[in-house]
């Protein structure tokens, strides 16, 4: 009996516990794994079942309103996104039409739904935020002269992360007298923007048509990108010129402020052209075609079909970053190891890098690396001769350019193959200005699933290029643009060039070339006259005999011996004794009556950079070298 009572008590306690805990539906989730989507997310057009594995809540049913990662994880259920609008108990799945994750840790996500709020508070065209507030569609389209709800199909916040978050957090206290017009003021004041696309189309005489395939700016009421800019020429995109509006169903543009930012998107309808065909579930890159096939986006969810469409897209939040643009390396050498590598403007320095126990100049191609944080439109590396002052007007400085004709290609992530087999053109304009967003995308993988070119140079300087003193001493510094303003690095970086190989002016042996020696003549003194502004070492080689044989003498650096007659620039303009050579260094069996020779090998200390733009290879080595030979006859038993 006691056992029965105990059992009953346990049942009662269990039921009471369950009642107190309340329902544990999806809608009650407060700790959904949004971190899984920090590097990119999307939603599908249709619902499906995971045929393998299961999401964080154990339910293999995936709704078209759920937020999914490219790694096969459900980051948030539709109910998680809507939770704050319904006191934790959303009524139903309302779909997910657009998304922008603004802050992963704080769970701040901007999004739009497929369906209107059943309680009538918001529509499918409104811009919602997970904290539980929204901006009406009419406010977004107000600057376009559109006064009705025209839907919201794609979304991308633009601007510094802190400013965007400050704006979003203040939404409940903004625009009490109405959003249209007020939204634009708020966005402009904060230097941010909302890019979006709509569901409907407005074609009107006397005013620009608004297609649902356009990227629009909410702040400025401008068209950021038309269909003909988004899709390659082979696609008949845009109306009326090319003929078809392909729509814009999803959007992300990874850089904060850029001149020509990369825009990733998907369309509403497929295209079956012979060149660049795509489906309405593929991720496309502006002007570049497909970068991720739908089947690759969804495959890690193991659906029963290989196409589910694509309705929303985002790349996650930006990574933490250095805030001040600066040059870090010149010729693959850290500026800290360069004499005058980082000095105040006008400060002194030799521009020589300390490498391998010697100070060295730079030659041929000089790669320049640095840090380019977000918030910058363009950058360039400017240069001037070391004895010149910086131009008062920064725009008149000379920039180090690698123009498109150079064919510089950079490895990038291939979303289709999920590897780094993609290639992107990287180039400056004629004045050396580079697109900062493109640099960051390629160099740091900003907005991409992976970083494929982690050491992309800011630019590569051809030290033998037109107008460049190939033996000159220069200063370089970084310039960048934000809008129309040009900013400059507060430092100079000295760079010394040396592109001349050592000059061997004279090489002598006793008796002159073709002299005949016997054992009694050994050793013989080798004399030479050579010059290099940055001479490093010389060495001699004795060769000849039958069978042929050779032997190198050890290198003699300019500072190896205080007694030899060579110094930092060679032999000082005269023919001087180097050191003696002796036939005994050759293999004994080779020393017969025969012809022999002496080679003088001279190297300088230049850090010689290579540059293969097609493969983005920047090999480097040290030295330019020169050599010269002189011959003689030798008779082992005497002449």
């Amino acid at each position: 009996m006691r056992r029965i009572i105990n059992t009953l008590l346990l049942v009662v306690v269990l039921i009471a516990t369950l009642v107190l805990m309340g329902p544990t539906g999806v809608g009650s989730q407060t700790t959904y794994p949004l971190e899984e989507c920090a590097r990119g997310c999307f939603s599908t057009e249709e619902d499906f079942m995971m045929m393998k594995g299961e999401p964080y809540d154990g339910n293999p049913y995936i709704s078209d309103g759920d937020l999914l990662s490219f790694t096969g994880r459900v980051c948030a259920r539709n109910a998680d996104l809507l939770s704050r609008f319904y006191d934790g108990r959303p009524p139903a799945d309302l779909g997910l039409d657009a998304v922008d994750i603004l802050h992963v840790k704080d769970r701040i996500i901007a999004f739009s739904t497929e369906l209107d709020d059943p309680r009538g508070r918001f529509t499918a065209g409104d811009l919602l935020f997970t904290p539980g507030y929204f901006i009406p569609n009419r406010a977004l389209v107000y600057p376009f002269g559109i006064t009705h709800d025209i839907g919201l199909d794609a979304l991308q916040f633009r601007g510094p992360e802190d400013k965007v978050l400050a704006f979003v957090r203040s939404i409940p206290n903004l625009c009490a007298n109405g959003w249209p017009g007020c939204l634009q003021s708020q966005l402009k004041e904060r230097g941010i923007d909302i890019w979006f696309s709509v569901e409907g189309t407005v074609i009107r005489a006397g005013a620009p048509s608004i297609l649902d395939g356009y990227v629009l700016s909410a702040a400025y009421g401008t068209i950021i990108a038309k269909q003909d800019a988004l899709l390659p020429n082979v696609v008949p995109a845009d109306i009326p010129q090319r003929g078809v509006d392909f729509g814009l169903d999803a959007l992300f543009a990874p850089e904060i402020v850029t001149r020509v930012p990369p825009i990733y998107f998907s369309t509403e309808i497929l295209f079956r052209g012979e060149r660049l065909p795509f489906t309405d579930g593929d991720v496309l890159l502006r002007g570049d075609g497909v970068v991720l096939r739908n089947e690759d986006a969804i495959k890690l969810f193991y659906p029963a079909a290989n196409f589910l469409g694509l309705d929303a897209l985002d790349a996650g939040g930006p990574p933490p970053e250095e805030k001040v643009p600066h040059i870090t390396h010149i010729g693959r050498q850290t500026v800290a190891n360069i004499n005058g590598g980082t000095v105040p403007v006008g400060g002194a320095g030799t521009g020589l890098a300390w490498y391998g126990s010697y100070w060295r100049p730079f030659g041929r191609y000089v790669a320049i690396h640095g840090e380019i944080p977000s918030g910058i439109d363009q950058f360039r590396v400017a240069y001037r001769k070391h004895d010149e002052a910086r131009p008062a007007n920064p725009a008149t400085a000379k920039g180090i350019a690698v123009v498109s004709g150079a064919g510089w290609q950079v490895e990038e992530y291939n979303l289709l193959m999920s590897d780094c087999s993609g290639w992107a053109a990287y180039y400056s304009d004629g004045d050396g200005w580079y697109d900062a967003a493109e640099y960051r995308r390629l160099e740091s993988g900003v907005g991409m699933p992976a970083d494929c070119t982690s050491q992309l140079a800011l630019t590569v300087w051809n030290s033998q290029g037109p107008g460049i003193d190939s033996e000159g001493h220069y200063r370089i510094w970084l310039q960048w643009k934000i809008g129309a303003n040009i900013y400059e690095e507060a430092f100079d970086h000295h760079v010394q060039f040396d592109n001349k190989a050592p000059e061997i002016l004279d090489l002598q042996i006793p008796g002159g070339a073709c002299a005949t020696y016997g054992p009694d003549d050994m050793p013989i003194m080798v004399r030479a006259n050579f010059y290099d502004a940055h001479f490093l070492y010389y060495r001699l080689r004795l060769f000849g005999g039958n069978p042929p044989s050779s032997a190198w003498y050890p290198p003699v650096y300019h500072d190896t011996s205080a007694v030899d007659a060579v110094g930092p620039t060679g032999t000082g303009g005269a023919t001087v004794n180097l050191h003696t050579v002796d036939m005994s260094v050759l293999s004994a069996g080779s020393v017969v009556t025969c012809a022999y020779g002496i080679m003088l090998w001279v190297e300088d200390s230049t850090i010689y950079g290579g540059f293969d733009p097609i493969t983005n290879q920047l090999p480097w080595a040290t030295t330019y070298e020169s050599w010269k030979e002189i011959t003689f006859d030798y008779m082992p038993y005497g002449p």
Binding site: E45, E46, A92, V244, N306
Partner: protein
């Protein structure tokens, strides 16, 4: 000879009875006549390089009602003009009920700027508006779940009678008494088959997906997404794994499921591959490729999506191998024998 003369009227009668009948159209009466047999709307706007529309504007909106022969039957503004709307609202579902009366049932992509209809409502060109919640009343779904496809079922006269009866019912009245719709549908012995945009797996009497055909009169799933697709297509949740959606629906008024025509929201690349613009047969693959639908308009791309579709389908005559009355079978056999003799 007399026997032959007696047969002639019978043969004519038989011929008339088995010949495919054209849709009931008064030729030249309205531009809608061009859509009497087949009509559709697209997913996206495009420029027509085919016949120039009567209004001279070659831009085709995804809200316009198009004929399969290459004519613009109604601009979007003409569809919604009874609602005082002048901007393009899109066209998500369509059923042409009377060409003579220019009576078209439809739904839009967008909500009315005036708030007098929403994109999930069933509208008619005569100004009727049935709110989405009324359609879903028997499914016990609250809130607008969208409306992606519609097809009226019943005798045409009954359907027209029903539409005439609801003409005087305002949207607000429907919202006050959404159950009234079921009563009126049953009174007129008609049904509205439809599909929704969203999915309702919790609150409904039964889980309903946007790929299912639903009955407004009975609150039942007429056909699940799995029913609609060929067995080789992994359609249907949870068993087969994918909901392909249902973007357009048409068929005979009798409601014979086997004769239905439909299109999906997403494409399929399996053995029986189809695109989301193709018109599919019920559980039996493609009836009409999307490009054939758009071809008369000569768009620059061969795919612009299909968002709404209507096909006039007269009931098929009964066949010899089916349930043809014995007397008609006899005369049909006689006709065939005569034709053989003439050859």
């Amino acid at each position: 000879m007399r026997r032959f003369l007696v047969l002639i009227p019978l043969v004519l009668a038989l011929a008339l009875s088995i010949a495919p009948r054209a849709a009931p159209v008064c030729q030249g009466q309205t531009r809608l006549a061009a859509c009497a047999e087949c009509a559709f709307s697209t997913e996206e706007d495009f420029l027509s390089h085919g016949p120039t529309p009567p209004d001279g504007n070659p831009i085709i909106s995804d809200g316009d009602l198009l004929s399969c022969k290459g004519a613009v039957c109604m601009r979007n503004r003409e569809l919604v003009q009874r609602f005082d709307v002048t901007v393009d609202m899109g066209l998500d579902a369509v059923d042409i009920l009377s060409v003579e009366k220019e009576l078209v049932a439809f739904s839009t992509e967008l909500n009315s700027p005036h708030g007098n209809f929403y994109h999930g409502d069933l509208l008619t060109t005569s100004g009727a508006c049935i709110p989405n919640v009324a359609l879903l009343r028997l499914f016990q779904v609250s809130g607008d779940r969208g409306l992606d496809a519609i097809h009226f079922v019943g005798k045409l006269d009954d359907i027209l009678g029903f539409l005439d009866a609801i003409q005087r019912i305002s949207r607000a009245e429907w919202l006050r008494d959404p159950g009234k719709l079921v009563t009126m549908l049953k009174e007129h012995q008609v049904d509205i088959w439809f599909s929704i945009e969203g999915t309702e797996r919790v609150a409904a009497t039964t889980a309903i997906y946007d790929g299912d055909i639903l009955s407004a009169a009975n609150g039942t799933v007429v056909a699940t997404n799995a029913d609609l697709m060929h067995a080789s297509v992994p359609a249907g949740i949870p068993k087969r794994g994918i909901d392909y959606g249902l973007d357009a629906l048409s068929g005979p008024r009798s409601g014979r499921r086997e004769e239905l025509r439909l299109s999906t929201e997403i494409l399929h690349r399996g053995e029986l591959a189809f695109n989301d613009g193709d018109i599919l047969k019920f559980a039996n693959g493609i009836a009409l490729r999307a490009e054939e639908l758009y071809k008369p308009f000569e768009p620059k791309a061969d795919f612009v999506g299909t968002d709404a579709f209507y096909l006039y389908m007269e009931e098929k005559p009964m066949t010899v191998g089916g349930f043809m009355p014995h007397v008609l079978k006899y005369f049909q056999q006689r006709v065939q024998a005569l034709r053989r003799a003439e050859r």
